[in-house]
Structure formats: C-alpha cells, structure tokens
Symmetry: C2
Subunit: 221 residues, 2 copies
C-alpha cells in the first residue's frame, strides 16, 4: 500500500528535477553567451536565476510541510534532509552561473583572448553532465552512478588548474590582457565550484540511500 | 515546564557556537599567517579544518536525531532546519579559510607586494565580526542584530572590489607580480564568500525566529 509520504517524496523529487533543469539551462546559456559572444544570452541567465530562486523557496517550504505533517524517520527522513541540502546546492549553482555571466559580460567588453575558451567549454560540459547525472542518481537512488560523479570532479579540477596556469602565462606576456585573463580565471573558478556542488549532491545521494556519510573522507566500501 | 526538545535545541546551539569558534579561529590564523608571513600558522588552519569537519557531521547527526525522535513542528522545526543550514554555511566557511591558506602559502613563496594587505586585513576583521555576530544573533534569537549583519556584507563587497581593482592595476604595471596579485585577488574573493555565508546565517536567523523568508529579495518589514 502506498503511504502518503511516498507521494510527497515523489513530488519533492519532481520539484528538484525541475529546478535542476533550470540550473542546467542557466549554465548552458552562460557558456553559450561567452563562446558565441552574444551578450543578450546573459540576460536569460538572470531570468532563469529568478526561477531558480523561486524553486529554492518552494522546495524548502515543501520539505518543511512534509517534516511537520509526517514526522518521518529513518530513510524517509534522510531523503528529505538530502532534498534540503540538494536544494541549497542547486541554488548556489544558479549563483555560480550568474557569476559567470557577470565575468562573461566584462570579458566580452574587452579585446578577446581565445586561448582558454576551449578548456572553459570542456569544463562547462562536464559541469552540466555532473548536474544532470547527480540528480538522475538522486531520483533513481543509484548509488553506483553517484560514485562516478565524484570522479568527474577531478576532471574539472584538472582543467581549472590548466586555465589558471595558461591565463597567468598569457597575462605575464601581455599586460593589456590582464583584465580578460582574470575574467577567464574567475569563470574557471565558478565552473569548478559548480562541480563541487554536484559532488555534494552525489555525496548526499549516497547518504540518503545507504545511510553512509562519505563527506570529509568517510569511507565508502 | 521545560520540554525535552528545549534541552535538545540548547545543545544544538552550543554545538553551533563551538563550531563557529573553530571557524573564527581558522579565519584569524589564516589571516595572521598571511600578514606575519608565518607559514607554520597555515598548518593550524588545516588542523582546525578537521575539527570543523567533525563538528559538521556531529551537528547533522544531532539534528537528524531530534527530528526523528521529537517530530518538531512550527518554530521548533524552523529552528532545527536553520541549524542544518547554518551548519552547512559554517563548514563552507572553514573551506574558505583553507582556500585562503592555499593561496596564502603560494603568496608567501613569491616576491611580496604589500599594497593590498591592509584591505585584506580589514576584510578579514569584518568577516570575523560577521561570523561571531551572526551566531550571537542565532543563539539569542536577536532579529534586529541579524539585520545589521546584512549591512556589513556591503562593506566587505566594497573592499573586495577595491582589492580587485588595485591588484589588476599593479599586475598590469608589474608583470613579475601577476602571480602574487592573483593570489591576493583569490584571497579577497574567499573573504567575500565568507561574508556571504555569514549573511546566509543572518537570513536563517530571521527566518527561524520570525518565519519570514527574506532570501532572494523577500521583504522584511
């Protein structure tokens, strides 16, 4: 027999997927704006941010309702606490996409330096896959797949280090490009943070479905 | 008559204060290491980070226990959900102090540029006051004071913009100092993020004690 809480948890999952879709779109638009040099796409990032912020408040309220009305325990409780955390991570991902659009707008106003854009595009693609992948794991309760998300974060970190190194070298050689190089460094940093948030989500999935806390170096057998 | 949940909430507050003390100390040590050029103090930041991570897991577990055993509603529930969020913000503040120590170690290995250190010291002092202040508000349920924390964030943002501007100007004029300038920019960014987390805590306090959600531009009358 289906319990009322099962329906409510399904609703929470749907809300999280919808919110995740907004985050993915926001990241994709910010990256496309940067690569296609189309300022107007940055405006869409701000429009989507409003949706993400609305989602954020809605999900929090829905979680509070379920907690107050059902007084869940054990796995149900873990799952709802995970939704609260995932909600926070998604909202901060939205903030990172907005940060990218701010630095991106600055960047497009300057003399273009192209050399790091390839790596930034790769970082954005991986981050997008991490967002989608971590939420898929959450909805399906797929702990094995969640572990794979954790590995993707290493790829992003490696690319971030490369963008940092290459940008610094370029800035040293071309003092006119210090501003543009810094914009790209900050964008790479935002993408790295996006990956970190997806990693947090994967860790929350593992906790929700196994009860094992692998944050801060906790072992996952 | 005192309810069991009142004692448990008092215990949660004590845990949060202890964790906040670790975060304050971590930030203070990272800043002192940078200003006094004492690498060994950065190691203390890593030691404190371990404590913060332990606090993080302890607080989460304690919150889950209260939720599971007491099934709290209304103000009690809001307060416990705030603890879960504050716990997350404090843990991320600890990460920012660690990030400062990484960039700080790099910075100390280079030819010193002093010009931005004054502003960075000011930022760190404000961030420290924001951490302490936001947690004091939380423990005392002081909503008026929490609103003042929100204003302090503007001060930090202004100083961050100044460090960015001055560092970029210096990097353009001295290509040898591009690495060191970038270190200071990243440290200023970490301090700004620390302030953002304290702002989140102040918003959570307002929500916990008034039920009003002022995140994302919600009005607070």
């Amino acid at each position: 027999m289906e319990r009322a809480i099962d329906t409510q948890i399904e609703d929470l999952k749907k809300m999280i997927l919808l919110m995740g879709g907004h985050v993915e779109k926001s990241l994709a638009q910010a990256t496309l704006a940067l690569l296609s040099r189309d300022q107007s796409l940055f405006e869409e990032v701000h429009v989507i941010e409003k949706l993400i912020n609305e989602d954020h408040i809605k999900v929090d309220n829905a979680c509070m309702n379920v907690l107050a009305k059902q007084g869940p325990v054990a796995k149900d409780l873990r799952l709802i606490l995970s939704v609260i955390k995932i909600n926070n991570d998604l909202e901060r991902m939205g903030d990172q996409a907005v940060n990218i659009s701010y630095s991106g707008k600055d960047y497009l106003g300057r003399k273009p330096i192209q050399s790091q854009l390839n790596d930034i595009q790769k970082m954005s693609e991986i981050a997008g896959r991490m967002v989608k992948g971590s939420l898929d794991c959450f909805v399906r309760g797929d702990v094995e797949q969640a572990k794979k998300i954790l590995l993707m974060d290493d790829e992003i970190d490696g690319l971030k280090n490369k963008v940092f190194k290459d940008s610094v070298a370029h800035m040293k050689a071309h003092s006119d490009d210090v501003d543009a190089g810094l914009d790209l460094i900050l964008i790479a940093r935002n993408l790295e943070r996006l990956g970190d948030h997806a990693t947090n989500i994967a860790e929350d999935v593992i906790f929700a479905f196994t009860g094992k806390d692998i944050r801060h170096g906790g072992k996952f057998g």
